[in-house]
Subunit: 707 residues, 2 copies
C-alpha cells in the first residue's frame, strides 16, 4: 500500500502498548496470547498502574515511561481512566487507541455524555479511536492481532475482511469462516464508533490489495453520505460488500440501542440503498460468510443463469424448489446443450437443469467431467454448480481424487464458471481444502442450501456490477425560492410543467360552471371540493365520482357543498374542481418522503388497498433513473397487474418510468423543506400516464399541509 | 415389538441373501462391508450365477441352493433377471426382496410396464418388495444394514428414522445427521415404491419403540388416504413426522418423474395436508435433520413463546430479525420476569427477549445460570434457547465445562424447556456430545439460523398436537341422487337451504318486472342475464351494477338484452336476475375443487385481483371445521382487510367460519361428480355473510357447466 491512509498507523502499527495488561483479565490474556501466537513483528509494551512482571515481562506503570513513540494502544482500563490515558498517548506521539471499555453510548444518557467527552479529547489530542465497547481488530495480512478474544491464523489466499459493529459477532463470523477454511485479511470491530466508523474502515480496505470482499455486520449506518461514497468506491474497484444488517424487527431497534447505542433506521430503505450501491444483503452469519467467499472465489459472472449438476435426483429436486423460492434462476437448457448432454450422459438420465447425472457417475466419474463441459457451454449459463463432498480426512482423499480430477476437467476451458458445493453444510478439512487447491477446483462447504443462495447472490452482485448506475443528485437544482405550491391544483400544475401529465380540471364556482365543464370533457365526471382547510376531501363527502349527465353533476354539486358546509363550517371554499372520470386503468401510488438517515426517498405501489393494507411498495433513495424504476416495478407483488389485467391495456413501462423519474426530480427541486410529495393515484393505461391527485406536505406540516 | 407387522420380516430379517454379489460392484462391496462392520447377527448368503469365492466366502450359484428359508434378499442383478429371482425367492420361502436395479417406472413407458409386471409377480409370489430403484434400508436398532452405499453406526439414544423416496438423498440426510451426532433408528429408501410405500414404512415405525420422529424425503404421496391414516396414527402415538417434500417448482415435477417416476401433485395442497395432519414441513436437508432432532430431544411444548439468551448483542439482534421473518415468536417478557432478571444480570445489560447477557458471562458463568432460571419462569415462554458452542475437541472441554454446568443449572427445575444452540452450524465433536450428555443439556449444533427455525417448527408441531382436529368426513352424506342444480339461482337456493345465506333475487321477464323488483329491494340494484348458455356473464355485458332509479334499471335492461342478442344470438334467455347492490363490504372468494390426489379441497381468498392476480388463497382438504377456517383466514396476506378497512365493519370471523364450513359440506353433499363449487363473491360485513353469485361445475364440465 503506497497510499498513506488515515487509519494506517492504527491498523498496521509497528509498535503496540497493552494498557491495563494483567494476568487476571481474560481480555488481556487473550490479547497477549494472540500477539505471541501471531509472532507480532513489532514492539510490544505492557502497561499497568502497578507495574511488576506480567506474562514474564516487566510492565511499565505509565505510558509516559515509553522511550519511543508507539503507534497504537489497546485500552483495557476502567472507563474513568480513559481520558487521562488518551492525554498520555498524545504525549508519547501515539496515533490511535483501541478501546475495549464499555459504559459509553450503549449505557444511556450518562454514557452518551461520556462518549461525547471522549471524542472531544480524541479530537483535541489527535488520537484516532477504535471503539469504545469493541473487541479490537486483527490485521491478518501483517500478523497483527489487537484482539481481546482468541484469534486464529488464517489459511493462504485470504481475500475477505470482516468489519463489524459487534465484536462478539465478528468472532462468530470468523469462527464459521475458519471451519469452512475461508481466509480473512482483516477483522475489525468498531463498537460504538465514537470516532472510526465502518465507512472509514471500508475506505481503508478498498486499497488493501488482498481484500476482495468486505463482509459487514451492521446495526446502524451513522454517516449515510460517507457510507454511500465508500460503497461506490468499493464498486469502482471491482470489490464487493456483503452486508448482514439487522433492523427488520422493532425488537432489534431496541436491542441495538442497548448494544452499541445505534439507531437502526428504516430497514426497507437500507435494502433499497443496497440495490443502489451494489451491496449484497444477507440475513444469517452462514450466508454472510458463504456469499462473501463465493464472490471472492469467482468474481463477477457475465451471465445470470445458474446450472446445477448432482449425482442425486433428490438433491436436484431440492435445488429446483429452492431456486423457485429465492432469486436463483436455473434456466432450461438450449437444445444444443441438451443434444450435447444426451451424447455424454447415461441413457436413463434426462438432459435438464438441474442435471441428475445419477449414481452412475460414482462408477464412472468421466460422466461428470463430460456433462460439466457440455453444460458450461450453454449460452444462458453464467455458472454451473456441482454437488460433491470434499473428503473429510486423509483416508478418503484417494477415492475422491478421481472424481475431483474429473470435476476439474469439467470446469476447465471456456464457458460458464464452475463451483463445487458440498451436499450439506460441513466444515472443510485440511485434506479437503488441499485436494481442491491441488486440482484448482473452487469449493464451498456451505451445502446446497446456503451455497445455492450464495450463488444467487453472486449472480445478483454480478448484475449490479454490470448495470452500475450513479445518478447525479448534483445535477438537479433546488428551485430558489422553492415554488409556494398552494393546493392540489397548483401541485398538479407544477408537476405538469415538469413533464408529469396531470388530469384536466376546471374550478367551478356554480352548478352551471360545473355542468359546462363536465360537458366540455365529455363522458362521466368527477367533482372534488377545493379548500386549503380540507386536505382529506373524502372525509367530508368532498369527492363525487363517475357522474353521468347534467342532473347527476348538479345534484352532486349541491350535495357536496351542503355536506361540506355542515361538516366544516369554517372552511374557506375556493370552488369545486371538475375533472373527467378515468375508467379501466391501473392506479399507482407514487410518493416521496424524507428518510431521517438517507434523505429523500421515493416509493411506488399499486393504489388503494395494495399500499394501505399490504404495504406493497418498492423504495429507492432519490434521485432515480429509469432502470431503477423498472426494478421497482418488478419488485411489486402486484407487478403483473401492469401487464394487462381483466382486459386493461398493458402499461408502457418506459413511459411510466420516465414520469416517475420526473416526479422524483420534482421532489428534489422542491428543496429540503419538502416533507412529502404524493401522487395518489397516478393513473396508467398503455402509454397514458396521468396524475389524478397530488398532496404536498412540508416540514412543520401542521401549518403547511393541504390537499 | 410384540405386534407382527407386514414389513417385519423384511426390515428385521434373521437371514439375508445378497443376490448378484460380486467384488466388481461398488454396490455389492458396500452392502457386504456394511453387514461386516455392523456385525450383522443373522445368516448371510452370497449368490452369484458364476458361484466361486466372493469376499472370501463360497457363493451359491442360485437361491435354490439355500438349505434354509431366508427372510430377505438384496437384488443387485440386471433388470431382466429380477422376475426369475422373485420366483426363486418364493421357492425358498423368502418374505421380501430389496431391489436396487433401475429401469422401471422412472424410465418411461417401457419401464412402467416392467414395473407393473414386477408387482404382478410380487403379488402372485407373496414376496414383498422394497424398490426398485432404491438403495435398500438400514435397521440401526438391530444392526441390520441392507444398504448399498457406506453406512455408519449410530450414537446412543437414537430416535429418528429416515424414510426417503430417494436413496442418495437419504444418504445425504444421514451424513448431515452423523456430523451433528444425531442418531438414527432406521433409514429406509423406498425408490419407485412398486409395492412398499412410505405410508407402510411409517406404519411400521409408529410401533417401533425407539423411533420418536420420522424424517421424510418425499417426491410423491402415492396413496393419500393411506398416508393420511398413518399420519393420524403417528400423531395419536405422540410421535412426529417432519417432511421435506419437493414439488414447489414446475421443474421439480418434471425431475421427479424422471427420478422415481413420481407425480408430485399440487404443492399447496400438500402444505394444507400437513397442517391438517400435524406434519411439520421443511425445505432443506439441514432443516429436516435439525427439526427432527429438536422434536425428538424436547417433545411437545406447552406454550408458544420462545426465549433466547446469548452472550452477544449482535447474535440477539440477528435472532430477533430472523424471528420476525419466520414463524418463531419471541414475546416480550412479563414485568415479573424483567424484575427477576434485573436482579441477576449486570447493570449495563437490559432485561429483554432476546436477552444479551453480555460478554460478562464469560468471566462469570453464574450470570448465565441465573438469567436462564429467571427467564424460564416467564409464563409466556414454552422454551428458552441459549447460544453457546460445544467444545470441538478435548482441550477445550475444561473451560467450556464451567459454562455448560451453569447452563445445566439454568435449565433445571420447572419452567420453560431449555435448548442449547451453537452460534453457527458446525459438526458436533465426540467430546462436545459427551459433555452435553454428562450435564444433561440438550444441544444442537445447527446454529442460530437453522436452530431457531427448528425451534419455531417445534412450537408449530406442539400447537398442532394440542389442537388436533379430526374432521369426520363420514358424517356428511352424499345426497342421493345429488340435486340437479340448474343455474346460479338454483345453486344459491341450494346453498341457502344448507345455511349459506344468499342474496335475494327476482327473475324478471320484462322491464316492468325488473323495475318493480328493484323498487321492492330499495336502494341501488344489480341486473344479471340468466342463461344456461352464458356461464361468464360479464363477457357479454350480462352484468349491470349499482343502478339507481327506474330509468337506470330500464336502460340497463334493454342495453343488456340488446348486447346479449348481438353477442350470443343462439342463447336461450331465461330472463334477467334483479338483486340489491351491496356496498362497503369485503368480498371473498370461497371455492371448492377436486384435487386429483387428495379429493375435495376448499380455497378461501379475498375477491377480485387478490385471487386472480396474487393467488392469495388458503387451502384445506375437506371437510373442514371452524378452527381450520380461522387458520385459513389468518394465512391470507390481505387478512387485515377482514378487521375493518376504510371504515367497513370488522368481519365476525365466527359467523364467517360457520358459513364456510357449510359451503364445504355442501360440496361434499353434492357427491363425487362435482368438479367445483365457487361462491364469488361471498360478501361479508360484520355478522352479515351473503353469497352474491355461485357457479357449479361437474366432471365433463363442457356438458354441464353453467353460471
Amino acid at each position: 500500500m503506497t497510499h498513506h491512509h488515515t487509519l494506517q498507523r492504527m491498523l498496521r502499527p509497528q509498535s503496540i502498548a497493552l494498557v491495563g495488561a494483567t494476568e487476571r483479565s481474560v481480555w488481556s490474556n487473550s490479547a497477549f496470547e494472540n500477539l505471541q501466537r501471531f509472532k507480532y513483528p513489532g514492539a510490544l509494551h505492557l502497561v499497568n498502574r502497578s507495574g511488576g512482571t506480567i506474562y514474564g515481562r516487566q510492565a511499565l506503570t505509565s505510558l509516559l515511561e515509553l522511550r519511543a513513540p508507539i503507534d497504537v494502544a489497546l485500552l483495557m482500563v476502567p472507563e474513568a481512566a480513559i481520558n487521562g490515558t488518551l492525554r498520555d498517548l498524545q504525549a508519547v506521539g501515539a496515533a490511535g487507541a483501541v478501546i475495549l471499555s464499555s459504559g459509553f453510548a450503549e449505557a444511556g444518557s450518562v454514557g452518551r455524555t461520556r462518549q461525547r467527552e471522549l471524542l472531544d479529547i480524541a479530537q483535541t489530542t489527535g488520537i484516532r479511536l477504535l471503539g469504545p465497547n469493541c473487541l479490537g481488530f486483527v490485521n491478518f495480512v501483517d500478523s497483527i492481532p489487537l484482539w481481546t478474544i482468541a484469534a486464529r491464523r488464517q489459511p493462504d489466499g485470504a481475500a475477505i475482511a470482516i468489519v463489524s459493529q459487534s465484536g462478539a459477532t465478528a468472532g462468530q463470523i470468523s469462527t464459521f469462516a475458519g471451519q469452512q477454511r475461508i481466509g480473512l485479511t482483516y477483522m475489525v470491530s468498531t463498537g460504538n464508533e465514537a470516532d472510526t466508523e465502518i465507512a472509514e474502515v471500508i475506505d481503508y480496505l478498498v486499497d488493501e490489495s488482498r481484500t476482495r470482499v468486505i463482509a459487514l455486520f451492521v446495526e446502524s449506518i451513522r454517516d449515510p453520505n460517507r457510507f454511500a461514497a465508500v460503497a461506490r468506491r468499493v464498486q469502482d474497484a471491482g470489490k464487493a460488500i456483503v452486508a448482514l444488517k439487522i433492523g427488520a424487527s422493532p425488537v432489534t431497534a431496541v436491542a441495538a440501542q442497548a448494544h452499541t447505542g445505534a439507531l437502526v433506521g428504516d430497514d426497507r430503505v437500507f435494502s433499497a440503498v443496497c440495490r443502489q450501491l451494489g451491496i449484497v444483503r444477507v440475513d444469517s452469519v452462514e450466508d454472510l460468510v458463504t456469499t462473501a467467499d463465493m464472490i471472492a472465489k469467482l468474481g463477477p459472472l457475465s451471465r445470470d443463469g445458474i446450472g446445477l449438476v448432482a449425482m442425486s435426483g433428490g438433491m436436484c429436486e431440492i435445488a429446483a424448489d429452492q431456486a423457485a423460492s429465492c432469486d436463483a434462476v436455473l434456466p432450461g437448457l438450449s437444445s444444443a446443450t441438451e443434444t450435447a448432454l444426451r451424447e455424454v450422459i447415461p441413457a436413463f438420465a434426462t438432459p435438464s437443469n438441474p442435471l441428475d447425472i445419477t449414481g452412475g457417475a460414482m462408477l464412472e466419474p468421466e460422466l461428470l467431467g463430460r456433462a460439466l463441459r457440455a453444460m458450461r457451454r450453454d449460452e444462458a449459463l453464467g455458472i454451473v454448480a456441482c454437488l460433491f463432498d470434499a473428503p473429510l480426512g486423509a483416508e478418503a482423499v484417494t477415492w475422491a481424487e478421481k472424481v475431483i480430477a474429473q470435476i476439474a476437467s469439467g470446469f476447465a476451458g471456456t464457458g460458464a464458471r464452475g463451483i463445487l458445493l458440498s451436499h450439506t453444510v460441513a466444515g472443510v478439512s485440511k485434506e479437503g481444502a488441499a485436494v481442491m487447491t491441488e486440482y484448482g477446483v473452487p469449493y464451498s462447504g456451505s451445502g446446497l442450501h446456503h451455497g445455492l443462495k450464495a450463488v444467487g447472490k453472486l449472480v445478483e452482485w454480478s448484475r449490479m456490477c454490470r448495470t452500475k448506475r450513479v445518478p447525479d443528485a448534483a445535477s438537479i437544482d433546488v428551485a430558489t425560492p422553492p415554488p409556494q405550491l398552494a393546493g392540489e391544483r397548483e401541485a398538479l400544475d407544477f408537476l405538469a410543467r415538469h413533464g408529469v401529465p396531470a388530469i384536466p380540471a376546471v374550478l367551478a364556482h356554480s352548478e352551471q360552471e360545473a355542468v359546462a365543464a363536465a360537458r366540455g370533457f365529455g363522458g362521466p365526471a368527477v367533482l372534488k371540493i377545493s379548500s386549503a382547510q380540507i386536505p382529506h376531501k373524502s372525509d367530508v363527502a368532498g369527492v363525487a365520482l363517475d357522474l353521468v349527465g347534467d342532473e347527476a353533476v348538479c345534484n352532486a354539486y349541491h350535495h357536496m357543498l351542503g355536506q361540506v358546509a355542515t361538516l366544516r363550517p369554517g372552511a374557506v371554499i375556493d370552488g369545486v374542481i371538475v375533472s373527467p372520470m378515468r375508467h379501466g386503468r391501473v392506479e399507482l401510488f407514487v410518493g416521496t418522503m424524507r428518510d431521517p438517515q438517507w434523505g429523500p426517498v421515493i416509493a411506488i405501489g399499486l393504489g388503494g388497498v395494495w399500499v394501505e393494507a399490504l404495504r406493497d411498495t418498492s423504495l429507492r433513495v432519490l434521485p432515480v433513473v429509469a432502470d431503477d424504476v423498472f426494478e421497482m416495478l418488478a419488485e411489486l407483488r402486484g407487478s403483473k397487474l401492469l401487464d394487462g389485467f381483466r382486459g386493461s391495456a398493458p402499461v408502457d413501462r418506459t413511459v411510466l418510468a420516465a414520469v416517475v423519474v420526473r416526479i422524483g426530480n420534482c421532489a428534489l427541486t422542491l428543496g429540503p423543506e419538502l416533507q412529502s410529495l404524493e401522487i395518489n393515484p397516478l393513473s396508467v393505461s398503455g402509454t397514458t400516464v396521468e396524475a389524478l391527485d397530488a398532496l404536498v406536505t412540508w416540514n412543520q406540516s401542521d401549518l403547511k399541509a393541504w390537499r
